[in-house]
């Protein structure tokens, strides 16, 4: 590490700790999560709290996978 690099610089270059990078990442994950959760809500036959909880969890995992796939395709 460059000796003139401060702790703050290190924190800024860590992707999830830099607010300028965290916001777009969280916004993208939230958009994927919302779309996938709506899809789940449409595909289930009976709406009850357990289904909604499982759907929210599945949509969260799906959002991470969707962003990874999107980055793999666009290369960014």
């Amino acid at each position: 590490m460059n000796p003139r690099t401060t702790l703050l610089d290190t924190l800024r270059t860590t992707p999830l700790l830099d607010p300028r990078r965290t916001l777009p990442v969280m916004a993208e994950l939230l958009a994927w999560w919302a779309a996938l959760a709506v899809l789940w809500l449409v595909f289930i036959s009976t709406v009850d709290p357990l289904e909604l909880a499982v759907g929210a969890g599945a949509a969260a995992v799906g959002a991470l996978a969707a962003r990874a796939a999107r980055r793999a395709v666009t290369g960014r």
């Binding site: 899809l39 809500l41 449409v42 595909f43 036959s45």
Partner: protein, 150 residues
């Protein structure tokens, strides 16, 4: 036998039966197109059966088939890319005919279902069915030859 089941029987015997004949005979370019169309026609048949038997959960079968059918065709398009490049399929007429059958079935079921979550699900199945098969047909015809091979 009600009208939905009769329509399903027609789609299965005429459509899927015809595509099975196409898969079993003829040159490669005809077989891959028939393979692609078999799922494109089995999916509307499953939708019609779900309506005919009044079992909405059977729609899930059609949903899975609409998703996995084109994916399977893309695998064939990739594995047979060299053979298909020499003798590419030209079958847009039957492809759009199958897409039209799918669209007509989804539309009829939407009218029968009425506005509800089930209608949105049907529309999602229809979009996957038609979009997936048009993309898969384009891949078979070499439409994505510019795509980098990984």
């Amino acid at each position: 036998m009600n009208g939905w089941e009769f329509a399903a029987a027609l789609t299965l015997s005429g459509g899927v039966g015809g595509t099975l004949w196409g898969v079993a005979t003829g040159p490669l370019r005809r077989r891959v197109v028939a393979q692609n169309l078999s799922t494109a026609l089995a999916c509307p048949a499953l939708l019609l059966l779900a309506q005919g038997y009044d079992r909405p959960s059977y729609v899930d079968l059609a949903l899975v088939l609409a998703l996995l059918g084109p994916v399977g065709t893309l695998v064939f398009a990739r594995l047979l890319a060299d053979e298909l490049a020499e003798d590419p399929p030209r079958a847009w007429g039957v492809t759009y005919a199958a897409a039209g059958v799918g669209a007509a079935v989804v539309l009829a079921l939407c009218v029968a279902t009425g506005p509800s979550r089930a209608l949105v699900k049907l529309l999602a199945v229809g979009a996957l069915l038609i979009g997936g098969n048009v993309i898969a047909s384009r891949a078979l015809a070499g439409g994505f030859r510019g795509v980098r091979r990984g």
